[in-house]
């Protein structure tokens, strides 16, 4: 009985692996595309704003203004400087996106600094270029404050802020974004693999053969979910290995807990993918439904803006979102060394999502024939 069961499931798993794995083009694309993206995106996703091009309108032309400008020139974050002598040219440089930051030094600058009255420098930033404008303006503000402090000397009451960034002392954005990129790439691959798997058989007509075979719907479910799950776990582990070895992101958590969380997260995503596939008649419907699920799931996973900042209604909706828990778990265990009890609270929703979606998917295996 059990042996027959295993034999049947093994046969289906073998068949699934053959369709995915035996074609070198398919193999290359499934493994190659995510790895290529990991290498590119890990280099390009940065919030450490650099190479800022600046336009300077110096009406003061004094020792003080030149000293201030030279501090900008020596800062590694600023790249090219364009000097203009009127407002129109100043604005022109912004309009054509030649610069991101502008400094406007008024002609009474030197007089007001010398007379200790307090001078004002205008820092203009380009609001079209996302929040990098605000970050750039922040750097400019720091340079100006630094110069001001050097001029008055360091006495008087004030607050010295010491910042300690736990789990990421230098607040490297890369550590944060790499765990997210890995989760996103596994999500995309798993979802495409699974959402197309039944839809393709249905479109090509081979699904009917599968249904009239001696396989029960539970056996079909196992055969359809194990191969993509194995491929997705392997792919995720390769990517995790790359970010540990090549990008030197420290892994501080427990390896077994991490493996368990990745496996269950991916299982929940396999469930969603198979459910989508089971309700789709064509591959087009499947891939477009998968996208309709993925866009909101990624956007509301908390990586762009925190879940607790969303409207209450959307916060409740994120409890249905496997990507949210996947990201909390992978980042939490990887960077923070999350403990067993926290891992369990985040795994339970994933198990529920997996159970519901897989049950729904397997029910349609029976119903859909005829």
């Amino acid at each position: 009985m059990i042996r027959d069961f295993l034999r049947r499931v093994a046969a289906l798993i073998k068949k699934e692996f053959i369709t995915i794995w035996n074609d070198p083009k398919t193999k290359g694309i499934i493994i190659g595309m995510p790895l290529m993206q990991l290498l590119i995106f890990s280099n390009t996703s940065t919030m450490e704003v650099q190479n800022i091009d600046t336009v300077i309108l110096d009406r003061s032309k004094s020792v003080e203004s030149r000293e201030l400008i030279s501090r900008f020139e020596y800062s590694p974050r600023f790249r090219n400087f364009y000097y203009v002598d009127n407002e129109a040219d100043f604005k022109k440089n912004f309009d054509v996106q030649k610069v991101q930051i502008g400094l406007n030094i008024p002609n009474d600058f030197s007089r007001k600094v010398k007379s200790r009255q307090g001078a004002v420098v205008q820092v203009v930033s380009d609001g079209r270029q996302t929040n990098s404008a605000a970050i750039g303006a922040g750097y400019a503000g720091q340079i100006i404050t630094g110069y001001s402090n050097d001029l008055i000397g360091n006495n008087g009451a004030g607050i010295n802020i010491t910042v300690r960034n736990w789990f990421n002392p230098n607040l490297k954005y890369k550590w944060y974004i790499l765990t997210i990129i890995v989760s996103m790439l596994s999500l995309v691959t798993t979802l495409i693999l699974t959402s197309l798997s039944i839809a393709r058989e249905r479109e090509l007509g081979t699904f009917d053969q599968l249904i009239v075979s001696p396989l029960s719907s539970f056996e079909i479910l196992l055969g359809k979910s194990i191969p993509p799950l194995c491929i997705a776990i392997t792919l995720t582990m390769i990517m995790i290995g790359i970010i540990i070895v090549f990008f030197k992101v420290p892994f501080v958590g427990s390896v077994p807990l991490f493996l368990l969380s990745v496996a269950i997260s991916l299982l929940a995503i396999v469930g969603v993918g198979l459910y989508i596939s089971s309700i789709s008649n064509t591959q087009q419907q499947a891939i477009l439904s998968a996208m309709t699920f993925m866009m909101p799931a990624v956007l509301l996973s908390g990586f762009l803006s925190p879940v607790e900042d969303m409207p209450v209604f959307l916060q409740y909706l994120t409890y249905l979102n496997p990507v949210r828990f996947f990201m909390v778990l992978s980042r939490g265990i990887f960077l923070k060394g999350m403990g067993v009890d926290d891992v369990i609270t985040n795994i339970i929703p994933l198990i529920i999502i997996a159970l519901i979606t897989l049950t729904l998917a397997s029910r349609t295996f029976k119903r859909k024939l005829g």
Partner: protein, 371 residues
């Protein structure tokens, strides 16, 4: 011409009979704009943070209160570091402020006091908010506290101005940017399937057995999806400007003209992939990796291109969304600036034509793949 019209008619019927293409053109844009409007907030994020006060002077108690009163902070008081550690580990708080016991003594002597700010570095984006909120609140408190007289006024202050978006509303650039993402999706994902589908199902053989020329097949695919894409574009613009009142300072004719050029390049990517691979699974995988993900990550929408390593800055030059994002943000927020419209339109035209040639070259009229 008759042949072309027949092919277009066939394609339109296929689009209309499968509701999923209509869903991706109209329902998905609606969902994504709703999410960008209500779910994503990049300017003034509300966070939960802890406060631990070791200084029991009444003046410092008002500092603790001002953390509680800030509308951006949900503050929780802590008594020991261990509890803070657990709370950060469990992501209950995104960070904490620790006020040392000599805080007020030092201020009253006219010295600098220390303030420790702890952040959860594993969430780098919110860690930055924790830092800047803590610094702003502490300095505001100091300026109105009884120690205010002991502060030395700064000699030079920076006055910040943000042009094109003086309200600093991040939705003003995110929502137009989301149009670029939707247009990429329609252009690339939908078309990556259409040629491969014909090969997979064998219907391509039926088409090839007639007297169609490659150009007929190519145009027969481009035109219907171009029309669908432009309808979706119009719907997107209506949602942005008409429903959600995102300010539009540009010119509608130019907006649709350049969007048309962009759609032309996206269709080119999708159709090249589709006619090259002749397999829906592979095409959709490649279309996602070469089309959709770069549009999100490399177009300048999420990460500034200027800050990327030099090699990757050059790499973005071959990505059509880069030009479109630059154009659409500028057109919405700054109005028509001829240099920007012209430069981006030229690049899109060149890329679009190259891709059109690639599609044409990959369209075979024989089953064995030869031309």
């Amino acid at each position: 011409m008759k042949i072309l019209l027949a092919l277009i008619k066939k394609e339109i019927k296929q689009i209309l009979r499968d509701p999923s293409s209509i869903i991706i053109a109209f329902v998905l844009p609606f969902i994504s704009i709703m999410i960008y409007m209500y779910g994503i907030n990049l300017d003034s994020v509300k966070i939960t943070m802890g406060v631990k006060n070791d200084d029991n002077s009444p003046e410092v108690a008002t500092l603790v209160k001002s953390f509680g009163h800030s509308k951006y902070i949900n503050s929780i008081n802590f008594d020991n570091m261990e509890d803070i550690k657990t709370a950060v580990l469990r992501s209950k708080i995104k960070g904490a402020v620790v006020i040392p016991n000599d805080f007020s003594t030092k201020l009253s002597r006219g010295e600098k006091s220390d303030l420790l700010v702890i952040t959860d570095g594993s969430e780098t984006n919110t860690a930055n908010y924790v830092q800047s909120y803590a610094i702003t609140i502490a300095n505001q408190w100091l300026a109105t506290s009884k120690y205010a007289g002991k502060i030395k006024r700064p000699l030079i202050t920076a006055e910040s101005r943000t042009w094109y978006n003086p309200d600093l509303n991040s939705h003003y650039f995110i929502v137009p940017g989301s149009i670029a993402i939707t247009m990429t999706l329609i252009g690339i994902l939908l078309t990556s399937l259409v040629v491969a589908r014909e090969w997979e199902r064998g219907t391509m053989e039926a088409i090839l057995s007639t007297s169609v020329k490659p150009m007929h097949i190519v145009l027969g695919k481009y035109i219907p999806y171009f029309v669908l894409g432009m309808m979706s574009m119009a719907f997107n613009v209506f949602l942005c400007v008409g429903v959600f009142k995102i300010p539009f300072r540009g010119n509608y004719f130019l907006l649709f003209f350049v969007s048309g050029l962009f759609l032309f390049t996206s269709l080119g990517i999708g159709l090249t992939v589709s006619s090259k691979l002749k397999n829906q699974f592979l095409s959709s995988m490649v279309a996602m990796s070469l089309g959709f993900m770069p549009a999100l990550m490399l177009s300048g929408l999420m990460y500034p291109i200027n800050s990327m390593p030099e090699f990757f800055q050059h790499l973005t030059r071959i990505i059509p969304p880069r030009y479109y994002v630059s154009f659409i943000e500028s057109e919405f927020m700054a109005g028509t600036i001829p240099e920007i419209v012209f430069a981006n339109a030229i690049f899109l035209t060149i890329l679009g034509c190259l891709l059109f040639i690639a599609v044409y070259m990959n369209t075979s009229t024989r089953l064995d793949g030869k031309r």
